[in-house]
Amino acid sequence: MICMVVDDSRVVRKVAKRIVQDTGFECVEAENGKEAYELCSQNMPDAILLDWNMPVMSGIEFLEKLRQIEGVKQPKVIFCTTENDVEHIQRAINAGADEYIMKPFDGDIIASKFQQVGLLQAQDKA
């Protein structure tokens, strides 16, 4: 399984990449919506962790374009952004986001959201 991390901050990408890999995914990176879109056109990932505010093309613009692509298995898209108000969240859901993470995040939150969208089995642990 492949997860794409789309964020203009190299630090965030690095942290997210480590968590995503620990969760058992292969990770590809993009630094804005445009680059992500181009990568998706070549090879569609299974999941995308998506920042909102990025230069060149924002996360929401990217998502709207992505959801118009037909004839492919659409990836699960999880927003991952500092935007944490109801309006932004609702807009993301309307645009076709499957889940939403409000930064700051950690490994627990990412694992929990991957479970939510059915990419990870819940573990029975204490």
Binding site: Y100, I109, Q123, D124
Partner: protein, 286 residues
Amino acid sequence: MRITDFELYKDILIERSGLTLSPDKSYLLDSRLTPVAKKWGYETMDALSAALRGVPEPGLVDDVVEAMTTNETSFFRDKRPFDTFQETLLPYMIETRARRKSLRIWSAACSSGQEPYSLSMLINDIEQQLAGWRIEITGTDISREILQKAQAGEYSQFEVQRGLPIQLLMKFFEQHESGWKIKDEIRKTVDYKYFNLLDNMAPLGVFDIVYCRNVLIYFDEKTKADVLSRIAQQLEPDGILCLGGAETVLGITDIFKPIPGLRGVYCKSSHTHALENKVSADVAQA
């Protein structure tokens, strides 16, 4: 922490709450009890220990116990028990209680409320089907402080992101400056009470479903068996018990038996439960 002090706290905990304190957890005593000592005006841990050896005020002992509890929890913790509730337990109860149109659920050791609220959100989801029903959800815990938090229904951004699907956050929570508050339509469905699992359970009444998750793990075998047998007395003949992922009745008591195919779900051994056959039939069909 001196050895004799460790024994003192170990005894208090087991006697008052059933919690077992193993020597490898003794480091927790200092960090968790220092604030309690301060609150009660004791300058040192030694002074606190001395007070507890005398005739301590009951409030002090309660605070000591409370400080030593682990309140770790999350919405839809481990996910599966809640899928089971939605897909199997709730439909079973609706069918079998169609006449009396009432359902009583107990979240024993509910911590800050995520467990009973998760159940309540799932019930709300099929609200039309339950028109005219009386549904009671009781949440109990030994920590008064954590019960206050449960009752307030206010959670940090971190807490609402563990286990809670974003759609449910949007549907059932309101955003506040410091976090998210669960809406009254859910908040008011849960009745919170202080209750020690070592105490007489009869006043709580009889339940259809009991969630007793991630608390027995802190008890010794004898206490586990005792609590389980008393829970059995508060359950309808076809009532259901749900335990946490690392807990079981096997090897502890014969009063309950697991329902095959439903992990962590138990019924009374004395009862041939309809779900035992139903679930195995579903498995055979699949």
